[in-house]
């Protein structure tokens, strides 16, 4: 049995949060920010935390804290690293579309919302706001160039439906396009 490193043996949610607090308080606009666990974003053995400064959701940063590392949604490369470690672009079926969307939206797109299974799939959608003829159900496909995720969300920041078409390449590089029938 492999012996755990010192850092790993001391790694607890509390110790992780204390390390994060020290980091965050050295960032002037984030000093004293609210830090809270986000267990549904835990991934690759790292614990997820939300750091919410005075600007609230508009300034939220998600940190993934591991025994020896901290990466954040403040960098575009973080989602690439997570996808690389999970081998999402190398193997089919690693993540279903809902789980992928959740990680992608919070770690990369900086959006909040609900994946829509129907064009009227959210209580706040107004009639005609998402025309049925342009709606497609969420889907995940695996092709030569990697894993494709296509889904509509009801985005609860703009309060509008948005469509995302995301490709995760075999090396984890994640690229996407987004559109909204109301805003385009």
């Amino acid at each position: 049995m492999a012996k755990k490193s010192q850092a790993a043996s001391d790694f607890t949610p509390e110790s992780a949060q204390a390390r994060l607090r020290k980091l965050v308080d050295n960032i002037p606009p984030s000093k004293g920010a609210t830090i809270a666990r986000v267990p549904d974003l835990d991934v690759c053995g790292m614990l997820a935390y939300s750091v919410m400064p005075s600007t609230g959701l508009a300034g939220e940063v998600i940190y993934l804290v591991g025994p020896d590392e901290m990466i954040s949604s403040g960098l575009r490369t973080t989602i690439n690293e997570v996808m690389r470690r999970l081998e999402v672009g190398k193997k089919p079926g690693v993540l279903d579309v809902y789980r992928f969307a959740h990680l992608f939206l919070r770690l990369r797109a900086h959006r909040r919302g609900i994946v829509l299974d129907a064009p009227d799939g959210h209580v706040l959608l107004r009639p005609g706001q998402l025309p049925a003829e342009i709606f497609t159900p969420p889907e995940a496909t695996f092709e030569k160039d990697g894993a494709h995720f296509r889904f509509w969300i009801y985005e609860t920041d703009h309060m509008e439906p948005f469509y995302f078409d995301v490709l995760v390449a075999p090396d984890g590089t994640t690229t996407f396009t987004e559109s909204s029938p109301s805003l385009n």
Binding site: S30, R76, H110, V123
Partner: protein, 445 residues
């Protein structure tokens, strides 16, 4: 000339005494009853009057004198009945109130004349018979009225002959457009709010659009009305129109200059026109300066914000920093695709690119937070968010129990500090589960 006039007056006086002029004399001598013509006696019946006024053998001038006398002693309605019966024709009245008959008897009745002819006849001579004009218009068909409205010469004559309430009643009876009617209830010392309400509530959309595009009338409404009266007229004018037209109504009626121009001002105006009290209170707070709204793009930034953000370990494409409104030292971290936030207790910030609908909910939501500023515990923070989402983003969910469930799910999904407490503290969980209606200030008053 002077002598002749005196002589004439003396002659009339003598004739009057001979005819035993009735004792009825109007007050202060301002409106003397015409002398009784020789044709009339104090006890004449309506049948006698009909007979006399319809008798072509009697000279027209004598019949005119009798009509004038009847008008003053028995009233215009009585005279109208006689005229209707005898088909004498239109009635003319001079500025002193004297009424004379016109027309030639048989064949000159109103029913054989066009509306234009009736109106022209009613305006012939020295005076104008307003009652005849109104009666003719009200008896006319809509196409007839529209034809008169399109007759600029006749309309000009009506405007020249009539004034005040007579002109207003005539124009309204003709179906004149709202823009031509609205100034009348605002003439003089007072304002007839009830008429303004009625006119604006009943006018079709195209006529209301013409009013909205008339800065003079809109300014007059703004100057004459205030408070709920102004709001009622604004609501009536904007009812059912497109958003941009409603915005024009708000800009025309309210002083929105405290709100930054563009979508914030538009949203503030629409909130002012809203039927919801919380919306109007929100707008008033923006207008009176107790809440300030800012475009994020207009906030000042410290030097080289990209370098600062990079130094924090973030990508400048994803995050940036701004100074807090009114500060040149305190900075705020903001996502580059942020929607909006409350920067201070009185400052709301949002992106210029947001829709006017989103700005409306943002202003209501953040103003509600400003008025309920306690965030000291996760439970209190939950109640604050619950209240703000309840009155803003989720207000359209009519089923209140469903609204409560939706708001709760939204908060627990997006506010980790609250959901962490919910998941770890039974007392907090029970309190949140039991909180199904908002408390505190829900009207933004």
């Amino acid at each position: 000339m002077a002598e002749s006039t005196i002589h004439q007056n003396k002659q009339e006086q003598t004739e009057s005494q001979q005819n035993k002029r009735p004792d009825r004399v109007e007050s202060a001598g301002l409106n003397l009853t015409p002398e009784r013509p020789f044709l009339a006696s104090g006890e004449d019946s309506i049948e006698k009057h009909i007979q006399l006024l319809g008798d072509n053998r009697i000279h027209a001038s004598k019949r005119q004198k009798l009509a004038s006398y009847i008008s003053h002693t028995r009233g215009n309605r009585y005279l109208q009945r006689i005229i209707d019966t005898t088909r004498i024709g239109a009635i003319q009245r001079d500025p002193n109130g004297e009424t004379t008959t016109a027309g030639t008897g048989e064949g000159s009745g109103a029913e054989t004349q066009t509306l234009e002819q009736q109106l022209t006849a009613a305006m012939e001579g020295i005076g104008t018979d307003e009652a005849a004009i109104l009666s003719a218009i009200r008896s006319a068909s809509v196409p007839d009225r529209q034809r008169v409205l399109a007759n600029s010469a006749l309309m000009g004559q009506l405007r020249s002959e009539l004034s005040g309430s007579d002109l207003f009643n005539t124009l309204e009876a003709l179906g004149a457009p709202l823009v031509d009617l609205l100034s009348f209830p605002m003439e003089g010392w007072g304002t007839d709010e009830a008429t303004l309400f009625r006119l604006t509530a009943n006018a079709p959309a195209d006529q209301r659009r013409a009013v909205i595009g008339n800065s003079g009338i809109m300014g007059q409404l703004r100057g004459e009305l205030s408070g709920d009266d102004l709001w009622t007229v604004g609501r009536n004018l904007a009812n059912g129109l497109r958003t941009e037209e409603q915005v024009a109504v708000a800009n025309g009626l309210f002083d929105l200059s405290a709100a930054p121009s563009g979508v914030i001002r538009d949203a503030t105006g629409l909130l002012m026109l809203s039927t919801e009290v919380v919306d109007r209170n929100t707008a008033r707070r923006i207008i009176n300066g107790s809440m300030n709204a800012h475009y994020i793009e207009d906030l000042t930034q410290p030097p080289d914000p990209a370098a600062l953000v990079t130094g924090y370990g973030y990508d400048p494409a994803l995050y940036t920093v701004y100074y807090k409104p009114g500060s040149t030292t305190e900075t705020m971290l903001v996502q580059t695709n942020a929607v909006g936030f409350q920067a201070t207790t009185t400052d709301i910030c949002g992106m210029r690119t947001l829709s006017v609908d989103r700005w409306k909910t943002l202003l209501v939501h953040e103003t509600n937070h400003a008025l309920n500023p306690d965030y000291s515990t996760p439970l209190i923070q939950y109640k604050s968010e619950f209240r703000a989402y309840w009155v803003a983003e989720f207000r359209e969910v009519a089923d209140l129990d469903q609204r409560a469930q939706q708001v709760k799910a939204h908060i627990l999904a997006n506010y980790p500090a609250i959901s962490a407490a919910y998941n770890s503290d039974e007392a907090v969980r029970n309190a949140i589960d039991a909180h199904t209606r908002p408390d505190g200030n829900v009207t933004n008053e």
